[in-house]
């Protein structure tokens, strides 16, 4: 379980690994906020390749980061969303604020 960061052009890629529940969402929020306090990014791309589970706590964490980005005119995106995560995105309307891209390359062109 964990979260790692990688800068890709002007995008911060957040690589998530594990099950994005309340327990993990708290850790991701802490580490991401810590990272963004040191270095500003206006575009954040969440990579869900190694996430096979997410619940409403993950949704809350993403919306929280989105609100922060909105204030500075930033954008958010997602790549590699699996089946269960996709259902949670659909039910909670997350796709409206977090577009899903095929890969990092498409994200960097469209974000």
């Amino acid at each position: 379980m964990g979260v790692t960061f990688k800068a890709y052009n002007d995008i911060l890629i957040v690589n998530l690994k594990g099950e994005l529940d309340h327990h993990m969402a708290r850790i991701v929020k802490e580490k991401l906020d810590e990272y963004l306090a040191r270095q500003t990014f206006k575009k954040i791309l969440f990579n869900f390749k190694y996430v096979n589970f997410m619940d409403s706590s993950g949704v809350g964490m993403l919306i929280g980061r989105y609100k922060h980005l909105q204030k500075i005119g930033g954008k958010m995106g997602a790549v590699n969303i699996g089946k269960q995560v996709k259902r949670i995105f659909e039910i909670s309307g997350l796709f409206n604020i977090i577009p899903c891209y095929k890969d990092e390359i498409e994200a960097s062109e469209k974000m």
Binding site: D21, H22, H23, F53, D55, S56, V59, G60, K83, I91
Partner: protein
């Protein structure tokens, strides 16, 4: 319908136990031979219910969470219970996007997700005494 099997577990309201609770209930439910999608639905609903106990029931203090699961021929019934602060207004709590704790990055989607992923959801709560969430799901066995 006859009861095929039943189990009860008690554990502390620690966030590490959210994953534990999901896995235990999914492992028990697998006796009904559910599809992977059905198992994912059950795990999601259990995760939401247990998270509610931790964040709202006990407000991050340590208490006991009890899960009871009952297997019938083609149905699983799951109870998730806490002895925490209870819910003042159940109707309101069940509304999509409503949360009592927006400052904690809560999405207010917990009950909505439980309702979507299970067939039926019942909530019984007494303020100051605690809450039981009862969830039911028909398992369309693979066989």
């Amino acid at each position: 319908m006859d009861i095929l099997n039943e189990m009860t577990i008690d554990f502390l309201s620690k966030s590490q136990n959210e994953a534990f609770a999901r896995v235990v209930v999914a492992a028990f439910a697998s006796q009904l031979n559910p599809t992977l999608d059905e198992l994912a639905d059950i795990k999601t609903a259990v995760s939401e219910a247990v998270t509610n106990c931790i964040i709202h029931g006990y407000e991050n203090t340590v208490g006991i969470i009890r899960i009871k699961a009952i297997l019938r021929e083609n149905e699983i019934e799951i109870w998730v219970q806490d002895w925490g602060k209870g819910i003042e207004d159940i109707e309101k709590a069940r509304q999509p996007l409503w949360t009592s704790k927006p400052e904690l990055d809560r999405s207010g989607m917990g009950f909505t997700i439980m309702e979507n992923f299970m067939d039926k959801l019942e909530v019984e709560s007494t303020p100051g005494k605690g809450t039981i969430v009862k969830m039911y799901k028909t398992i369309k066995s693979k066989n």
